[in-house]
């Protein structure tokens, strides 16, 4: 078949395909997926997600089990979102306590009903550093958060988190307003430092909090004497206010951004689905043709082998295989192919039996044509369109099977797949804890991927199948 013929047939196919609405929808979604995979960095808020999905410290700045940011739209009390600040305002001041100081100020506008989970300061320092950290509230009160003193730094990261490092300092702040009685009455371990910082000051600030909206200033004071000689430096000072809601799809209990996980999982879903289905359908189609063409004992034996494979339950065996071998994506794909090639065999065999009886096959034999020429030149091209449809239709199965394996904890730990996200959700009891954003999106995406290829497959099947009866 020349190139011109091929483009002509492709054009013909497209003319038919355009009439299939579901097929077009499938194609549209698939095209979108391909764009996302190709331009993945553009879509990933955490660009290093691929290597760091299981690296806990990579995610430590994220809120834990936070719902998606857009849930605020439906909530009566708005939760704080995550904000990041770089390049603080730097001023030199005279401080009554430390004398001349350099002050780094971050401005944070708080306009929510539920306070952020944490306020985190990060920097890189060299030599010896001393920092005094406080926060100035819109009502003029100042909350001392703590001090950081570190020596012998060599570009090492410095991290100060209010949640862990400023607990006692913040309780000191409460004491200015609330009575000892109120403090002892309330279970202070349940109260987050940030809740206090962003609440109106008063007697009841522990039991019945009211948000204090307005502009907060986070001030980091470093005595000028320390920075004077230039050996001690502070760089890359950043402020992160960790929201109660996070990202497009929220986070899981390990603070991982689920949206990044799902985007990163897309390419694996496509890869696993396509590789498995293409290889297994090609194997199955050839197997079916060979069965039909050779017939006789070959057919009987090959059909027997086929039946053995058909009757084997796939999942249990895959579980055993994954348990024996180190779970790797290649082993998983390989073992899925072992079970999936049987899919098209029966249909292809029966179609090939029909084609085999066509006079032009007999004519080719009469001309002296060999077996393989007949198989590849006359039979396979007729069955190829069917196998394309079949490939599309078996993609969802492969994706779901991989997800099932991953859900059972037998996935490849070096990659991110939707099934693994679901597995983690199940382990953490996401359903019981109401973390729906952890379960629904990966499930939906698995279903969507399946639907996309099913739509494509049905449309292709409808168009390409009657072509077998062109005569």
């Amino acid at each position: 078949m020349s190139m011109k013929d091929f483009t002509y047939r492709l054009g013909e196919f497209w003319a038919d395909f355009r009439k299939e609405t579901s097929g077009l929808i499938g194609l549209g979604i698939l095209a979108l997926c391909v764009v996302v995979v190709l331009a993945e960095p553009l879509f990933l808020p955490y660009s290093d997600v691929n290597g760091n999905w299981r690296n806990i410290s990579y995610w430590e700045d994220n809120p834990q089990a936070a719902p998606p940011a857009w849930t605020n739209l439906f909530a009566k009390e708005k939760s704080a979102t995550t904000s990041r600040y770089k390049s603080p305002v730097v001023t030199d001041e005279d401080d009554p306590e430390f004398g001349a100081v350099r002050v780094y100020t971050f401005k944070y506008g708080y306009k929510f009903d539920k306070a952020p989970l944490d306020i985190i300061l990060r920097a890189k320092g060299t030599g010896m550093l001393f920092m005094n950290i406080s926060i100035e509230r819109p009502d003029g009160e100042s909350v001392f958060l703590g001090q950081v003193y570190q020596d012998g730094l060599d570009g090492d990261p410095i991290r100060f988190a209010v949640e862990t490092d400023a607990r006692s300092a913040v309780y000191e702040f409460i004491r200015n307003f609330a009575s000892d009685e109120a403090i002892s009455n309330s279970d202070s371990s349940n109260v987050k430092p940030t809740d206090i910082i962003f609440s109106k000051a008063g007697e009841n600030m522990l039991s019945a909090r009211e948000p204090l909206k307005g502009e907060y200033l986070v001030r980091i004071k470093i005595p000028a004497s320390i920075l004077e000689d230039g050996t001690n430096t502070i760089e890359d000072l950043r402020l992160l206010v960790t929201g109660r809601v996070s990202g497009v799809l929220g986070t899981d209990t390990a603070k991982r951004d689920l949206y990044s996980g799902i985007i990163a999982g897309l390419k694996w879903a496509l890869f696993i689905g396509l590789v498995t289905s293409v290889i297994s359908v090609l194997v199955g189609v050839m197997y079916g043709i060979i069965c039909a063409y050779f017939g006789g004992l070959t057919d009987t034996l090959m059909s027997f082998v086929f039946e053995v494979f058909v009757s084997m339950p796939m999942l249990p065996i895959l579980i055993v295989l994954s348990a024996i071998f180190k779970p790797s994506i290649w082993i998983i794909i390989g073992s899925m192919i072992v079970f999936y090639w049987v899919g098209p065999v029966k249909t292809v065999r029966s179609m090939a039996l029909q084609i085999k009886e066509e006079t032009y096959i007999e004519a080719a034999k009469a001309l002296g044509s060999g077996k393989w020429r007949i198989i590849f030149k006359h039979m396979a091209p007729l069955l190829l369109p069917y196998s394309f449809a079949n490939m599309a239709l078996s993609v969802p199965g492969a994706i779901v099977a991989e997800s099932s394996l991953s859900l059972l904890g037998l996935g490849d730990p070096s990659i991110i797949t939707w099934g693994q996200i679901l597995h983690d959700a199940q382990l953490s009891g996401a359903t019981l804890n109401g973390l729906w954003w952890w379960i629904v999106p990966p499930g939906l995406f698995i279903a969507l991927m399946g639907m996309t290829f099913a739509f494509l497959g049905f449309a292709m099947d409808k168009i390409l199948h009657p072509k077998l009866r062109t005569r």
Binding site: T359, Y360, E362, A363, A364, S369, R471
Partner: protein, 338 residues
């Protein structure tokens, strides 16, 4: 008139083809056998170089199976097929391929005999590729043009780019003939080549085939159910019934002076374009239909339908094909009495 050995291009001796019905693995293992279909059951004939030999029979007579056996599309159960003095039933792959270059086949349905996805050019180039005929695309194209000219498809270039479905029935049969001619064969097996072509153009195809035969000195094995075209087209004919030849000889001789009761009945049944027969109920000497080749009657296999059958016809052994002179053979033990 006996046939000179040197004149014979194809000789078939006691050829048999019995089909065993498809069995499942369990049936094979338990050794249970179903009834064997005796499609061809011991036929012998010789075709002379340059002659048109007709094989006549109803459906189920085994004529098409014989054609396939000659083409080596299926293997015989027993018997030999000698082509130019060499038995081709037990040859190796190389010899078989060489044989296929010399013996080609034209099928009943020319459209079905071409891959619908091939252009005429591809259809005709296929034998050249299969037999690794030296030369590139250009040389092959020249050969294709030559073959198309041979079958009078003019201008050839115009047809090469078309697909089979774009041609008329007659044109397709010409292409099918051209495909067989491109390898310069010695013999063609033609299985009902004109039965699917309209009456008005049937003769045109027959003439073309005859011209080609004369020009290239070909031999034809012409397989048909149609006695009328057989008489017109062939030199000699053999009439088959249930896998056996019942009568054989010069076409005109057999049709004008049939000896076997089956041949007689066959000829009687053929309508002719003559007036005055509308109100006549035709006398048919034989009734019923051809029995199944899986269930062949004992003795003379025609006795169940034969109007002249006597007890000995079913009781005694099957009559052999005997020479009654003039190269006319027939297989009825009572032919002199009837």
């Amino acid at each position: 008139m006996s046939i000179d050995k040197n004149d014979v291009i194809l000789e078939i001796k006691d050829l048999k083809k019995h089909f065993a019905p498809h069995q499942s693995l369990a049936q094979t293992l338990t050794g249970k056998n179903r009834k064997v279909v005796k499609a061809v059951d011991g036929i012998s004939f010789a075709i002379r170089r340059g002659e048109i030999f007709g094989l006549i029979g109803e459906s189920g007579s085994g004529k098409t199976t014989t054609g396939k056996l000659v083409m080596k599309l299926i293997d015989p159960t027993s018997g030999t097929i000698e082509f130019n003095g060499e038995d081709v039933t037990k040859t190796d792959k190389e010899r078989t391929k060489a044989y296929r270059r010399q013996v080609q086949m034209i099928f009943q349905d020319p459209y079905a005999s071409m891959n619908p996805r091939f252009k005429i050019k591809d259809v005709l180039e296929e034998p050249l590729i299969i037999h690794k005929i030296p030369g590139g695309h250009v040389e092959h194209e020249e050969m294709i043009v030559k073959a198309l000219t041979e079958v009078k498809l003019n201008p050839p270039e115009e047809f090469m780019g078309r697909y089979p479905h774009m041609l008329s029935g007659g044109q397709r049969q010409r292409v099918a003939t051209a495909r067989t001619l491109i390898l310069n064969p010695l013999m063609l097996v033609a299985d009902e080549p004109v039965s699917m072509i309209d009456l008005s153009t049937r003769a045109e195809i027959l003439h073309m085939m005859k011209d080609v035969q004369r020009d290239l000195g070909l031999t034809y094995l012409y397989i048909t159910h149609d006695l009328s075209t057989a008489r017109y087209f062939t030199d000699r004919i053999a009439v088959m019934y249930l896998g056996r030849i019942v009568e054989m000889g010069d076409a005109d001789d057999v049709i004008d002076h049939p000896l076997h009761p089956y041949t007689k009945a066959l000829i009687d049944a053929v309508p002719e374009p003559e007036t005055g027969k509308v109100d006549v109920i035709k006398e048919l000497p034989i009734s019923g239909e051809i029995p199944s080749p899986a269930n062949i009657p004992p003795g003379c296999r025609f006795h169940t339908r034969c109007p002249y059958a006597k007890p000995e016809c079913s009781a005694e052994a099957e009559p052999e094909l005997i020479d009654v002179g003039n190269g006319h053979y027939q297989a009825c033990r009572r032919y002199k009495e009837i």
